[in-house]
Amino acid sequence: MKILMFTWEFPPLISGGLGMACYGMVKALLAQGIKIDLVLPTKELVYFPMREESDVDTLPVIFLDPLMHKEYSRHKFETINERLEYIGITSQPQSYFSLKEIRQYAASVKKHYWLSEVVTDEEQDLWDEMTTNLIGDEDLIRKVQEYTLRADRFARTLDYDLIHSHDWLTYPSGMLAKQISKKPLVVHIHATEFDRAGGPGDERVHKIEHAGMTYADKVIAVSKYTAQMIMSRYRIDTGKIRIIHNAFSLPVDTVLTQERIFKGPTVLFLGRVTLQKGPDYFLDVADRVLKVHPEARFIIAGTGDMSRHLLRKSAAMRLKNRFLFTGFLNRKQVESILRAADIYVLPSVSEPFGISPLEAMAFGITSIISKQSGVAEVVNHAFKIDYWDIDLWAETINHLIENPEKRIKMGIEGMQEVNRIQWDEAAEKIRHLYSTMLAEYIRRPKN
């Protein structure tokens, strides 16, 4: 079975939550004998043929253009990063098309949007919804446009049985590939615009999400929480939705032994500093806890559009040198900060899944997670609190600071629990879904 997979993130270079999930999932799918051609937002027109488990770490590359591939094969690269730099993928993918190229390309893609046989009015509506909303000049929208324009080449050139798209950024590509190849499409919901925006969000993104989910043959939701969200907010046919929880596997070379940075209790927020993740609740909780336990330290690990606001507010609240910011951390640095933490908190306003608490728990850190998260469905050895209940967050942290034995015991139990949540199980469910879809595809009525 061969999958054409579109995703926006994949480690080592883009390793947000989506990237980490894709890594674990692809690796486990490969172990099940599934072959995957991975398309990422690269500068060059390349894909990553994943055939064996080890490929997720070595990332083999093939250029669509055979001449360019020949040229590439002649290069010797010292490190994987050097190689990835050659094909043009950075932690913040830059624009990889000139405007002129886009115009030329758009003309050819338009042919497929409009001239191909559109079966029904409903289908036509979905195309309209997607194309009219994929218009704009903001950075991200433009990058998605570019990525989508190129999906055409992949969809035509590669050989595959099924298409798998992760999150709205790659839904248009998935739709295009399905249109061209007539192969079944599964879209994977790691987060919706409602989660990311912590409110209504961008109308166009909603429309693209809706079009993608409706056009797809199956929809994977990473949690019950997310499944409910897409049923109630996007009115997606319940029969199409499969809930497959994310899992978490630590990279093999991870060092777990605790290595303190601070003598006092250390409370960690790890993730993007955006409204969705609830960093402002973390600040209010810190303020309350520090009044009782001035020896504690609160660390914000990560960056985001709320970093500056939070920094200035923490200073204005006079939290002294007790509320600190690490800025952006790479993978190794994330591990260092995890090894230094005693208590992990995830106060997300809306978290479709939330892999980072699993990681924290794998390090044996006692975790407190928002009830408004998918991860709360899969772990028992963690405290679960409504994100807005600041008093309870503060009380819980105080309690854990005052009872170190209890805290450590809970940490160990959490660690054991997380070690049982492996990607193999999730991959098995995905493989099963693929098989069902293929069977349905083969048996589909021809017209």
Binding site: I261, F262, K263, R308, A315, R318, K320, F325, T326, G327
Partner: protein, 399 residues
């Protein structure tokens, strides 16, 4: 007679390295030695060495009639020794002429006066010792960091043996109808006060190379004629003092050599000395040159020479600056209790006012000046490194 009093501030801070939470507890150096060395060598080459050479020639040519004063911070002297010893030697040669007065200040160019009186007095004493040791000079005129002054400062300085004069900013809201050309007394009439004539001082320090300024280019003749004009109002024979105080880095660093600033300075003393009613003096000379009853001035609120407001807002306005400095002075008292000289040294290097200046977020005209002088991308970044360094310092105190 109008006496021109030049005083130049010579200061370099120990800039903080990009200190991260993950660096804590590793006994890492907090300061960016590489950058500090780089800046010192650059400024020495562009400003200190050529200007010292020029001023030495001018003093020699004028046969002692050209006089200047310096205030050189302890952190600058230390970094001369580390990165540019020839600069320190050239200052010594200038002081040896006898035409140069050295002023007293806080060794670390700190804001300790506002937060910790004992620490302030310690740093003042350290600086006086340093001037004696390096230059054999006993300071009798005091300037507080960035010309920050308020009545309480004169009380403290009066208590320190030997200080007779304090220099500060000629702030309009204090002077009102008065001119900064007279020597004044502090509110209790114990200390001699000299006030910066900021209009003319800033013509050199800030506007000299500004092509949008209507008076551009500033020629020596024009500038001396303005000075000449100032003497017209005084008909009863009282000695006037024109206090031109500025950063020494004005020469060659803030105003580049290509602006003609060195040529301006080269011809300025001779043009002044052509006129019998104009001359140069040192701040300490004013105690006996003031041939009149000196009016006393009260400064209930702190003033400074920074920005349009000439108050403390360049260092102590936003929450980041206040949280940072309050946390620092809390640590001072804990370090002193513990009695650890190494940690005290670090706290003192962190007390240098520049660290708080970099955190200034007043983003209008003055904010640009702050940005120009900051080694960091933003006030937020400066704050982050500083507050993280204070966490490191605190962990060391507990360790």
């Amino acid at each position: 007679m109008l006496n021109i009093i030049f005083y130049f501030q010579v200061h370099q801070p120990y800039r903080l390295d990009h200190f991260n939470v993950l660096d804590i507890g590793k006994n890492r150096n907090l300061f960016d030695d590489k950058l500090n060395g780089l800046v010192m060598r650059k400024v020495a080459e562009k400003c200190y060495l050529p200007t010292n050479k020029l001023l030495l020639e001018l003093i020699q040519q004028s046969e002692g009639r050209f006089k200047i004063a310096f205030s050189i911070t302890g952190t600058a002297i230390e970094q001369f020794k580390l990165y540019s010893p020839e600069t320190l030697d050239s200052f010594k040669r200038l002081v040896d002429t006898g035409c140069v007065e050295l002023l007293g200040e806080t060794y670390f160019h700190s804001l300790a006066f506002l937060y910790d009186t004992n620490e302030f007095l310690d740093q003042v004493a350290m600086h006086r010792d340093l001037m004696q040791k390096e230059f054999g000079y006993y300071t009798t005129t005091f300037r507080n960091t960035e010309l920050i002054y308020q009545d309480r400062l004169s009380d403290l300085i009066y208590e320190v043996e030997g200080f007779k004069t304090i220099v500060t900013e000629g702030v309009d809201r204090i002077l009102q109808w008065r001119t900064p050309l007279y020597a004044y007394k502090n509110y209790s009439k114990d200390i001699n006060l000299l006030l910066k004539y900021y209009q003319l001082a800033d013509d050199i320090a800030f506007r000299f190379s500004n092509r949008d300024w209507p008076e551009y280019p500033l020629t020596v003749e024009k500038f001396v004629s303005w000075i000449d004009h100032l003497t017209l109002g005084e008909t009863s024979g009282k000695n006037l003092f024109l206090n031109l105080f500025m950063d020494y880095e004005t020469f060659g660093e803030h105003q580049w050599a290509s602006s003609g600033i060195f040529e301006f300075m080269r011809h300025f003393p001779s043009e002044v000395l052509k006129r019998p009613h104009l001359g140069f003096a040192n701040p300490k000379d004013t105690t006996h040159l003031a041939n009149y009853q000196q009016e006393s001035l009260s400064f209930p609120e702190a003033v400074s020479w920074a920005d349009e407001q000439r108050d403390l807002s360049a260092w102590l306005e936003n929450g980041m600056q206040k949280n940072a400095i309050e946390t620092l002075y809390e640590l001072f008292s804990r370090i002193k209790q513990k009695g650890d000289p190494e940690l005290l040294r670090i706290a003192r290097l962190l007390s240098t006012s520049d660290h708080f200046y970099y955190m200034c977020s007043k983003y209008f005209q003055d904010g640009d000046v702050h940005k120009y002088f900051s080694p960091y991308d933003s006030p937020d970044q400066a704050y982050t490194y500083f507050i993280t360094a204070l966490a490191e310092l605190e962990e060391r105190i507990m360790g």
